[in-house]
């Protein structure tokens, strides 16, 4: 039986960085055709056979640029003034210049309803404001609402709005705009993507120009972190042109307005002089679309761009982290890297098997070997940065193959002649369907396969497109998979109903636990944040105990900023991920090299 440590040795014996690989590829690229030419010269002169060159592109060893782990962007605001790292720059000298950030795919829409992809959100959040926002410590901050009140039963929210806030076209923002925005998403006929955030609302009203009231049909403790933080569009403009046209012609109250927009190329925003917080320092904010990862990194290094919406490949991340021209913020993502397990499967439905898998897998070693140490081990379903909801005191699964074997034997799983455990004629075997071509995670699957094999669990690896996998998971035809997804935590909201509740559409693990369902419902009914904490702590205890999925780790999220952009918080002050700082660009200013 293969020893997983042999694989570790092989992996650790390849200390070649991607850039080094590229340099060697360059040499190889220059050499192979020359050799080929010399060989061709030995042949008949008139031959037209092409010299085949099999030098391949420099695929990253670990590619975090993947739609599967597309963390919801985290909205933030800055009632906290960002720490100023260059106090010697006079305020007047801070104005001017263009801040350039890089996106990796088309900016298909600038409407808040399409805020999901980070590349969209980076522009949407700078064009619009929400009633509230979530800051970089996951705290709720005031934005267009300078204050709000909520009744004890959580059935009524009253927002007191900032006065004198102007939209980009010079119209004033009032409570009627809020009514329009909320009713637009509440109207099922509009079938908005964000509609799910508004389902607990019964009605909304504008008491006066600066007071907006939301009456709930049922208590929804996540309301502030979901519906209330969504960006507000200019009602008069949106009503006139419709949602489809608004996607390319937005008007908000944000610090920048759209100056030029070509979805596949770039989006250029210009400073809004009448922004209610005051004009942003930079004259322009541009997001350039650069699909090729190595070109994005190059543009950062050559100073063509100041930051990047989505982190590059991991070894570029590590290189930029060491680069004195950049400040790097490194925070674990909220998206759980895990093996979703079909809890209805004849083998995986046994909690002993799931627990044994956690004992049998040396997750620290997987992090070090496969992900170059750029990840944090998971303890349950919530990321450690999600204070105060994260619960560190849950059942632990240290790497202990002997314990794994003991758990399996206690549950009646005995080794058969093939080195695979068996109970009542059923082999301890299942298929893990990884995402086709997923170069970041396939090595992880292979390492885990070896760990499991060492204790007699046979995990077969197959590949399929993500869509096929997720369809199969919903239908229960897929045993297990491997990808990153959130089980609560987006925007600092701990609710994991969408993936943990037994009735949820995306209950990937087909896990049914009445107590967890009950707790998830309770968590949404409890408005007091302090009261919510023990509820989510208990959910994590249950997840850790029952291990409905093989929770592995939270990848590190890197946000790199050129040191020429100042006005940013300290690198160790950031807790939230998802390129959060892009929301604060209004307070950033450029300094000379």
């Amino acid at each position: 039986m293969a020893d997983p440590r042999d694989l570790e040795k092989i992996l650790t014996a390849l200390p070649m960085s991607r850039r080094l690989l590229l340099k060697r590829a360059a040499l190889l690229g220059a050499t192979v055709p020359v050799v080929g030419t010399l060989l061709a010269a030995c042949e008949d002169d008139d031959t037209d056979d092409d010299v085949v060159d099999d030098i391949d592109d420099d695929e990253p060893a670990v590619d975090t640029d993947d739609d599967v782990d597309d963390d919801e962007p985290v909205d933030d605001t800055d009632d906290d003034e960002p720490a100023d790292d260059a106090d010697d720059v006079a305020d007047d000298d801070r104005y001017g210049g263009e801040i350039v950030i890089l996106g990796h795919h088309e900016i298909e829409s600038l409407s808040p309803d399409d805020r999901g992809p980070t590349v969209h959100w980076a522009m949407i959040t700078n064009i619009h404001d929400g009633l509230v926002a979530i800051d970089w410590h996951y705290e709720i901050e005031h934005e267009l609402a300078h204050d709000y009140e909520v009744t004890d039963d959580g059935m009524e929210y009253t927002f007191h709005l900032e006065e004198g806030v102007m939209f980009h076209d010079g119209e004033e923002f009032t409570a009627e705009d809020c009514v329009y925005n909320f009713e637009f998403h509440m109207d099922e006929d509009n079938a908005t993507v964000l509609g799910g955030d508004y389902t607990a609302i019964d009605s909304v009203e504008a008491v006066d120009d600066y007071t907006f009231v939301v009456n709930m049909a049922e208590t929804d403790a996540s309301f502030l972190r979901r519906a209330a933080k969504n960006e507000i569009v200019a009602a008069h403009h949106h009503e006139e042109i419709g949602e489809d046209n608004y996607k390319s012609d937005p008007i908000g109250t944000g610090p920048f307005y759209v100056e030029d927009y070509s979805p596949a190329e770039f989006c250029r925003l210009a400073a809004f002089e009448d922004h209610w917080r005051g004009r942003p320092y930079a004259d322009y904010l541009t997001e350039e679309i650069i699909p090729e990862g190595s070109v994005r990194t190059l543009q950062l290094q050559t100073g063509e761009a100041h930051s990047i919406v989505w982190p590059p490949v991991i070894d570029d991340d590590l290189e930029l982290e060491e680069d004195p021209d950049f400040d790097s913020y490194v925070v674990p993502t909220l998206s759980l890297n895990h093996f979703p397990l079909n809890n209805q499967h004849e083998v995986l439905s046994d909690v002993a098997v799931r627990q044994a898998m956690l004992y049998a897998t040396d997750r620290d070693q997987v992090i070090d070997d496969v992900f170059l140490g750029a990840a944090t081990k998971a303890t349950a379903n919530l990321a450690p940065t999600l204070e105060p909801f994260y619960n560190p005191d849950v059942k632990e699964y240290p790497y202990d193959p002997e314990m794994a074997e003991e758990v399996l034997e206690e549950a009646g799983w005995e080794l058969n002649g093939n080195g695979i455990r068996e109970r009542d004629g059923v082999e301890c075997h299942f298929v893990c369907t990884a995402i086709t071509g997923d170069e970041a995670r396939l090595p992880e699957a292979e390492v885990v396969q070896q760990y499991l094999a060492a204790v007699g669990i046979d995990m077969e690896i197959q590949e399929a497109p993500l869509a096929t996998i997720q369809e199969g998971q919903r239908e229960g035809t897929i045993d297990a998979s491997l990808y990153n997804w959130t089980y609560g935590g987006t925007d600092g909201e701990p609710d994991g109903t969408a993936t943990l509740h037994s009735t949820a559409r995306n209950n990937w693990n087909l896990w049914e636990n009445d107590r967890v369902d009950e707790l998830l419902n309770l968590g949404l009914l409890e408005v007091d944040e302090d009261e919510r904490v023990p509820i989510y702590h208990e959910i994590q205890e249950l997840v850790a105990e029952e291990a409905p999925m093989l929770f592995m780790m939270y990848w590190d999220w890197f946000q790199h900023w050129s040191v020429n952009v100042q006005g940013r918080p300290d690198t160790d002050d950031l807790l939230s991920t998802g390129s959060t700082l892009i929301r604060y660009i209004r307070d950033f200013y450029l300094v000379e090299d």
Partner: protein
Amino acid sequence: MLTYIIRRLLQGMVVILLVTVFTFGLMHLAPGDPIDIMVGEARVTDEQIERIRAQWGLDRPVHEQYFVWLGNAFQGDFGQSVVRRGTDVSEMVTEAAWVTLQLNILAMIVSIGIALPVGMIAAIRRYSTFDYVSMLGATLGVALPNFWVGLMLIFLFAGTFGILPSSGLRTWSAFILPVAVLALEQTALLARMMRSSTIDVMTQDFVNVARAKGLAEFPVIFRHIARNALLPVVTIIGYRLSFILSGTIVVETVFSVPGLGQLFVTSVQRLDYQVMQAIVLLFAVAVVVGNLLTDLTYAYIDPRIRIQ
């Protein structure tokens, strides 16, 4: 000739129609749902998903969707992008196709301009230093993959020297690198073809006759050798013209060029059915028309195969 053209065009239309049927069927057979991609990890119920699907017209049977699409397409209406809502597909495809056309036409001009004379001179001065050097360059051009050459040029000219932009096409200088990469392979291929073809023709009897009757070398080369040597080269050029819209996906991705290739990749990734279908239709039309033009040009150049 006219009957031949009409017959070929009718055949081409049948081919195009079949391509649209297969593409539409395959797209809908492929796993995945554009709404799932759009919704991501947002909190939605099955009912909300169904409402969005109905609003986008994706709840109808596939054959119904196809016939609606075909009917509209005949009237020049390719619908709206599912992903980039509010934008006409025809507008998106036209914009992207123009970008790709510019790149490819420039690359074709550059490569023909370099490859034909180089190939001919190499053939006429066979075994000379010029021959060896040019064919070394041609072999390199064919051997090096586009993707690698593109990245190396970016690292060199945008990174190290900082004299050319690494992405986009917003200035004239931005065209240089992507055109160079596209032209490199074509130039290499055409130069090798031209050399080989010229050498073949040079040994033909009619060339000896031309020389024997006392013609100067210049007219022999240009009137007799060049015209005949061009035949296989024209076939290759015509063949490549068929792919003038579709052959730049890699280069467009490396250089962040918002052309048809990049649009196609994006539409496949996002399952934007309307855009995918329109682009495939355009590719099919380009191949059919390109092949027809190649045949007609071939007949024009070579009187021996002129269609009766």
